[in-house]
């Protein structure tokens, strides 16, 4: 059969020769090349259109990820601090001045992974005092420098203070050493307060040519949340030098700004004190200077800290101002170890005998008082076999020295750092918290990504198949 079939086909093919013997068109090459060019152009146009659609869709999706506006009303008595803090997932919503989060119980920073793999950054987030939900925070105009990352949450959880960024007008500092920066030394040009309920921002810009010089204790709220005290120096033309720090206070209610401490006061840190005071801390002398926000004459009292090579940190007062806790150090054998102390403060502001946190714990930070006798202290075990001892937050009863779990947190500061609590709310029972979602993207993002990936996969598969076929044919596998 096959022979006859071949004969029949050959016979049929001979019929092609019956047609007029027309030569092939002379412009096949030109038409083919032009067709190819048109396909390339159309592919580029389609890709551009896809990108344009993406550009339009992605911000829309981003918009959906923002928080809904802060609750129009909430019962102030219902505000609470959660009993545990997590690092939020990447896909938690973002809050800012246009979408304020409402009262916050906690502000901290955590690593937020980007949409693209391997891209991640430390970002600020807040935990709602109303429902303990999480949102990333975009503070309008916040300075980006490392030294300006610290923020201050007001004790009532209704405002957050931060440093403003900008471009100092001074000329770039010229230095002879090429390894030194020739940019202005800082992008900090002022400070601001964001109202977390209304979204209002109260900004105060400082006249500076080279930016402001900060340390990590530059922002402190008064105990009544009425004033934000800001300490800063001004960078000068000579590389690295700055003026002596000045402390100013900003009253968010009306934007009033006044100077609290002139340069050269010797106060290394300012903390909220009892009875409408701010307390200046003379770190080098171990003295407290009680400053009334209304008068300028301080009452200075020494704190009887034991000898140590460790500089004491800023003290923290309990709500009534009758006790104070401070981080310092303690000589032990050849070395000095961090230690946490607490002492009673008498009516005439004399500081009494110190009690010390159990030395099984190495204290890192004092976070605030839960009540008149319990202070929250972030610690790690002193004796720990391993490279990175886990962090935990303890409630330390300064009257009898006992400790109990305070607020739960991830064990590593790689995951979570810079915890600031709304200290007024600590006086209330902690509220049981649930782990925030946001590890997985919401469905619009998943759907968009899925459709795009599928389209790309199909296109790549088709292209790969065509190339393989062409290659196979070019290699003669079909023959």
């Amino acid at each position: 059969m096959t022979h006859q079939l071949r004969e029949a086909f050959r016979n049929l093919a001979d019929g092609a020769d019956l047609a007029p013997d027309a030569p092939p068109p002379h412009d096949l090459w030109r038409r083919g090349r032009r067709r190819r060019r048109q396909r390339v152009v159309s592919s580029v146009l389609v890709a551009s259109a896809v990108l344009a659609v993406l550009g339009a869709v992605v911000p829309g999706v981003g918009g959906q990820l923002r928080t809904t506006p802060a609750p129009a009303s909430y019962d102030e008595a219902d505000l609470a601090v959660p009993d545990r803090i997590w690092a939020p997932g990447r896909w938690r919503p973002t809050a800012d001045d246009e979408h304020p989060p409402g009262p916050l119980a906690v502000v901290a920073s955590a690593e937020r992974r980007g949409v693209w793999p391997f891209r991640k950054e430390h970002r600020l987030f807040g935990v709602s005092a109303v429902d303990q939900s999480y949102s990333w925070l975009d503070l309008p105009g916040q300075a980006t420098g490392e030294e300006a990352r610290g923020v201050a949450l007001s004790p009532d959880g209704l405002r957050v203070g931060y440093f403003l960024g900008g471009s100092p007008p001074g000329p770039r500092t010229q230095v002879s050493d090429p390894w030194m920066a020739s940019e202005p030394q800082s992008d900090v040009v002022g400070f601001a307060v964001l109202d977390l309920v209304t979204g209002d921002v109260r900004r105060h810009r400082v006249r500076t040519r080279f930016g402001l010089a900060l340390d990590d204790r530059g922002l402190v709220w008064s105990a009544d949340s009425g004033w934000l005290a800001v300490t800063y120096g001004r960078y000068q033309r000579t590389m690295g030098s700055a003026s002596l720090p000045v402390t100013q206070t900003l009253r968010p209610a009306d934007g009033a700004v006044r100077t609290l401490l002139e340069p050269g006061s010797g106060v290394s840190a300012l903390v909220p004190g009892p009875d409408g005071t701010m307390v200046g801390w003379h770190e080098s002398r171990g003295e407290l200077a009680f400053l009334s926000l209304g008068t300028s004459e301080p009452t200075v009292r020494p704190v009887p800290l034991p000898p140590s090579d460790t500089s004491p940190g800023p003290p923290v007062f309990n709500p009534s101002g009758t006790r104070v806790a401070v981080l310092s150090g303690r000589k032990e054998g050849e070395g000095t170890y961090p230690a946490a102390y607490a002492a009673a403060v008498s009516a005439d502001r004399e500081v009494g005998d110190l009690t010390m946190l159990d030395k099984r714990w190495m204290p890192h930070e004092l976070l605030g008082w839960l009540d008149e006798r319990h202070v929250l202290v972030q610690v790690s075990p002193r004796r720990y076999v391993g490279t990175l001892p886990p962090l935990r937050i303890l409630s330390w009863d300064v009257t009898d020295g006992t400790t109990a779990p305070g607020i739960g947190r991830p064990a590593s500061d790689d995951e979570l750092e810079g915890i600031v609590l709304a200290t007024d709310l600590l006086r209330r029972p902690l509220r049981a918290a649930e782990e925030p979602g946001g590890r997985l993207p919401p469905w619009p993002v998943t759907l968009t990504a899925g459709v795009l990936l599928s389209a790309l996969g199909v296109a790549a598969l088709g292209r790969s198949r065509r190339r393989r076929e062409e290659q196979a044919l070019a290699d003669g596998t079909a023959e």
Binding site: M1, T2, Q4, L5, R6, A8, F9, R10, N11, L12, A13, D14, G15, A16, D17, L18, A19, A22, P23, P24, P25, L28, W29, R31, G32, R33, R35, R36, R39, R465, E469, E470, Q471, A472, L473, A474, D475, G476, T477, A478, E479
Partner: protein
Amino acid sequence: MSAGEEGYNAFVTARYAALRRTAYVLTGNHHDAEDLVQTALMKAAGVWGRIHERPEPYVRRIMYHENISRWRRRRVAEELDGHDAAVEHADATVDRIVIANALARLTPKQRTVLVLRYVEDLTEQQAATVMGVGVGTIKSQTRHALTRLRRLAPELVGHMEPADA
């Protein structure tokens, strides 16, 4: 004129008639055959840089696939142009008319398989590679095509050995 264009023109001049013969068997009429060959050659011009060393398998492959695609697009069975056949084939043998009409009633895939196997003399494996299908598909398509041919052209099948099918 570039070297690529020169090589392309030389290929077209040398192989155009042979390609048209195959296209004629595939399509069943002169007009579609010309169109099919020219389309395949145009596509070949676009990728000449990659195929210039062995262009003919690529062009033939394009012809097979393009023919099937056109049929899919039209979604109607192609009818052999009876008038043209009668006129153009006035001096053709009876067998030629019979097989042309029978082929026209096959699906383009079945027709392509028969062309690959009995005109191009490809093995089943080679035909499968060209069609981008499995060897089993080539076997079944061949079997179905021959069965149908027997029914459509008993005159032709009369010459065939049943066992060959």
